[in-house]
Symmetry: C2
Subunit: 315 residues, 2 copies
């Protein structure tokens, strides 16, 4: 048997998995992300944990094809250097080189959102589609774009920043990027909750029974026919549907995979979203694109990393 | 010496060129596009013209690596069939098979706008960039997207339809696609002229001295400081800049190449366009993207077709 190692580095935990060549997870575990000392010891923690795990499970290092590492931040894909990862503290950090020295295993690096997109392409909602757009509606809005079966990095690795598509050129809310009116200010979990809070004022709505309104509260209230929640969901799906239509007219993906916390609303989100998508996409584009909810949840990253290791290192 | 054949089929002429493996055109000629009988004889006309040309120029068929064919309409890239090309009359037309039977030369087919994008990537403004967005501002607005050095077709060949990005969700003008508010209704030559005609009414502007206002008239008047023309150019570059920023935040191209009739305005167009692009693109995206005018003019298509033939058939 040959194995792949997938490593998905986040701000609080590092998710790790051993996969077979078909992408089936055979072992899965997490370690804490120790960000002390600007994250300097993270590669050591990962390597130690991995080497201990293969010893425990009687696997041999030489049976591993390689490792894929998903990491947040700005990445130089060729050199394997993380130029900057604010949440972790890395700055020009030689992540791949360090990992390879500590384990002897060849490694490939990818942006964490892209790794999740690849995971969904391989074993999840993407179902092998080579033209895929993955959208994560979480605290922010992220994206991963796959064309011709390959992730799009763009010229300096900035591709997929669809959260910063400008939806409102005037009067938009301030975004974390410093500009206003970005898709992220509307369609993220934060954006949905904000709209709920704004629109409930002096209105008859169940949202006034909740102190800290969340995106989930809004979708729950919408499913029960609440008028204010309906206004919020219509606004959110209008702008998200418009953004996705414009991307789909440009890229003609076979599948659009919606992940992240907001996607847990499932069909309650997808039904009004598809209506807006149909409204703004060309008929041949609408007819050839399926919008689906992500299927792999927290495993998408490690599975995508496994795919990258296979693609890169399997002879 | 080995040769490539580039064929760019348009509604009125077929442009043909023989290129060397470096993409230098050594022979270039045109024949009329005879659309009688639903374009059935076009492959014969092309084959006859090509075989005559190589005889005249003492080249041997066996020294040709292959042919690239750029064609308008909806194309099935795998089978080489043009599903529909309205301007020519083709419907499920076996263009590649027919050409190969008539010449004995292997051929690859591409959408005409994409072929031009590839041409600019190889020998024009793209200058070898593997991440490139080509935009044609002509009668309509077309696009070609190159990621990882390959053209993006999308799942049914609809990728690059950036003319149908919706810029105005309410109150937009009717587009040829049947919807309203598309980028094409604003940033095409037709759109620029329309805005000039609309805005000149009851105003003091040199545009009132011209009967049939064209996009060129608008840019000429703008270059001379005409107030109404300035309003038009500001509106056009606002929407075009917004659309390109949103695409660039998603794809992070190294180069955006602007072609087509409207691009003849050169820096008069690019200067205000870059301002809008800077306004809406993420700083790292703005900083890594160059907006340039197309350099190959009418040769872009045949050069792109030559590249495709080389890529596909050169051993």
């Amino acid at each position: 048997m040959k194995w792949l190692l997938g490593i998905d580095i986040g701000g609080t935990t590092v998710k790790m998995a051993i996969l077979d060549l078909q992408g089936i997870i055979v072992e899965k575990w997490e370690i804490e992300t120790i960000i002390l000392n600007d994250g300097a010891q993270i590669p050591h923690d990962i390597a130690t944990s991995f080497l201990k795990k293969i010893e425990e499970s009687n696997k041999k290092l030489e049976d591993f094809v390689g490792a894929g590492i998903g990491a947040p931040g700005f990445i130089d894909f060729n050199s394997g250097v993380v130029e900057q990862a604010v949440n972790i503290g890395w700055k020009n950090f030689e992540l791949v080189g360090e990992f390879e020295r500590l384990t002897g295993l060849p490694a490939v690096i990818e942006n964490d959102a892209n790794a999740a997109a690849i995971g969904e392409m391989w074993k999840g909602a993407g179902d092998g589609a080579t033209e895929l757009l993955a959208v994560t509606l979480g605290t922010g809005v992220g994206g991963g774009i796959i064309t011709n079966g390959h992730i799009v990095h763009g010229t300096v690795g900035m591709a997929g920043e669809i959260g910063h598509i400008t939806m409102l050129t005037e009067g938009g809310v301030l975004c974390g990027c410093g500009r206003t009116g970005c898709l992220e200010t509307i369609a993220s979990a934060t954006g949905v909750a904000r709209l709920g809070l704004e629109k409930r004022k002096n209105r008859d709505t169940v949202l006034n029974d909740i102190k800290a309104v969340t995106a989930k509260d809004v979708f729950d209230a919408y499913a029960q026919g609440d008028t204010v929640a309906t206004e919020v969901v219509e606004e959110v799906t209008h702008y998200l549907g418009l953004a996705l239509s414009n991307l789909a007219n440009s890229l003609n993906p076979e599948i659009i995979v919606i992940g992240g916390g907001v996607s847990k609303a499932g069909e309650v989100l997808l039904a009004p979203l598809r209506k807006q998508f149909e409204r703004f996409a060309l008929p041949r584009v609408f007819g050839s694109t399926t919008i689906k909810v992500a299927e792999l949840s927290n495993d998408a990253g490690v599975i995508g990393c496994g795919w990258l290791a296979k693609k890169m290192f399997l002879k």
